[in-house]
Symmetry: C2
Subunit: 340 residues, 2 copies
DNA sequence: TCTGCAATTGGGAGCGCTCTCAATAATCAT
DNA sequence: ATGATTATTGAGAGCGCTCCCAATTGCAGA
């Protein structure tokens, strides 16, 4: 099964190594008869070309790496990652790439992983999940020469390729929806201001209020960290300002915020409305069901791979930028069904 | 930075390729002076040995693969996976292995992935997440010659190495706890009977009832699928049998079951008690907080890697088996604080 | 000083593939 | 039939490393 070489197949098929190589790689200039015969031998023997030898000779590993920096702590808590990973895995599979996973957990991990991913002969390209501003790994990776696509927009974008969800527009739509429903004191629980996700969703909130003639009240804005507990405490901070609606920059935070609101004996959506962001399954299983912004995470991962492959094949320049749209999912917590 | 070869380093340090190789691989028989000089050149130039060349020459790729079969659908819904993956990634990192991720989503994925993982020169060993009985990928992988460790016990274990959580004991402890608290009609929502996890947790339930003089009432047993919705419907099926306590084979199902119980106007734990399994963070953030069995998932993944590496280095025979223990986490839903 | 031995170093083959280039075979126009 | 042209095939070098073996060096003991 294993450990057959090109030469073995060649011998069995009565041709040369070169010819077998041509067949395996689907190159032209092989007569139909020979191609068929070689294919047959390969079929029977179950021959698989040796990955290392192929990589060494062709200088292409057909492997890409997904690097998740240390500052991406939501790896555990957020269903975002399983879906992203699935999309990426699917993309790799479909294009015959192997996926390497590099999770940076600690500073030591960082020291081991950085040299490894930039080592020649291992990866053809790298996908980096965007993290916090100033993350070591991201900064150092970006200046390597290997093709690279950021998943999520980084703070500094000069010359670097990325794919991102249109967070500004998503947040804008969420908040506009609340405005349209007539809410007057719309607060927000933002994501970390050290991440572009956090900043952009805040920007969308700001934009929606402005365009629709609301003034931004600082007492209705507070920062969360994309965790349930973070949302809970954020809501407690917001409560004194008497908001009648909240846009939470993530569903998980919305869940925490709702818990805090309920503990304060507020009814949802009668006393206070909520819109989240992400559309995690959880949000659809609770009562009341969460109105939210859905992002196509699976597709997002899949596309990231395709962009990277395009980069690998056609060069890094110019940098590619892709934005993907979102969708407003109206459920119970925004009160749309009972108002208007 | 990249594309330096051993030969380049050798030239710069005024020694031979062989000597540099010895230094890089920390082999003996290099004089201190030479070693220092070579190390210096490597330091300055940022040389990294070419992975493919090394793999080809040494027949070791220093890479292991994690294969997640199609029948493992909980990949998305369960926090188990992020933690497992983190543990595995940590193990790889610490032992200087690269981690390859192979998620099998569809039948087509299967056809692409199977040849790839068994291709020589790519992986030194494979970790396979246990899935359902009869899963193609698992069966075919197991009979390959490459070192392999199953994460979770498979149905047929002859000759194969695995690491597993002691599910029987965990479930036994959970149910024993309920018995001790005096509950009389203890029901269970099991996992799929096609998985050993499901079977074992059921076995623990059975064992606890038997040993403590309860008889097993079939109307108090129903099968779930490790999802929230599955738990919800399972609970609805159980309700007519009037259980006063439920052991759910996973927290996620417990959450669904609790929702169903609450909709039926049962108070928890006064009217009905719950114990889950997994200790997902979610379970600790809700009200009432879930009593559960904690499994050391991170450690589990880490150990799996170490077992695999041991296999790679010392051969597949004999098969290694490791069981890891669990811990009962007592919170609100079992009613321990108000009873006894 | 010389021999013997161990420690250190260098040279060479080879891992299994790709890819260029030359050789051969097949095809066609003349 | 002949030379020119093109399609098919094979040989060989080389990708960058490891590892064996032989050569060299250093040093202790006689």
């Amino acid at each position: 099964m294993a450990d057959l070489t090109l030469e073995d197949i060649a011998k069995q098929a009565g041709v040369s190594r070169s010819t077998v190589s041509r067949v395996v790689n689907n190159h032209p200039h092989v007569s139909e008869g020979v191609r068929k015969r070689v294919l047959e031998v390969i079929q029977i023997t179950g021959y698989q070309p040796n990955a290392a030898a192929r990589t060494l000779a062709s200088q292409r590993s057909w492997m890409i790496g997904l690097v998740v920096p240390r500052s991406v702590s939501s790896f555990f808590t957020d269903p975002y990652f399983p879906h992203l990973t699935r999309g990426i895995a699917k993309g790799c599979n479909q294009h015959d790439y192997t996926l390497g996973l590099f999770l940076v957990g600690t500073k030591e991990d960082e020291e081991k992983i950085l040299p490894r991913v930039s080592r020649s002969g291992l990866l053809d390209g790298i996908l980096v999940q965007a993290g916090h501003h100033g993350d070591q790994v991201i900064d150092r990776l970006v200046q390597s020469t290997i093709p690279l696509v950021m998943v999520g927009r980084p703070f500094h974008t000069e010359g670097i390729s990325y794919i991102d969800v249109d967070n500004i527009e998503g947040a804008y739509n969420a908040v506009s929806h609340l405005v349209r429903l007539g809410y007057q004191r719309i607060g927000t629980i933002t994501g970390p201001s050290k991440s572009t996700v956090g900043v952009d969703r805040m920007e969308g909130y700001r934009k929606a209020l402005n365009e629709r003639g609301h003034t931004l009240d600082e007492s209705l804005v507070t920062e969360g960290d994309f965790t349930e507990a973070g949302g809970y405490y954020a809501m407690q901070r917001l409560l004194p300002a008497k908001p009648d609606a909240i846009f939470a920059a993530s569903d998980i935070m919305a869940v925490g915020a709702i818990r805090a609101a309920q503990e304060a004996d507020l009814r949802i959506p009668d006393d206070i409305a909520f819109v989240g962001f992400d559309d995690v399954p959880l949000a659809n299983h609770r009562d009341p069901k969460l109105t939210t912004i859905r992002q196509p995470v699976y597709q997002f991962g899949f596309s990231a791979v395709e962009i990277l492959i395009e980069l690998i094949e056609n060069g890094r320049e110019p940098a590619r930028r892709v934005m993907v749209g979102t969708e407003l999912i109206i459920r119970d917590t925004c009160g749309a069904s009972r108002r208007r």
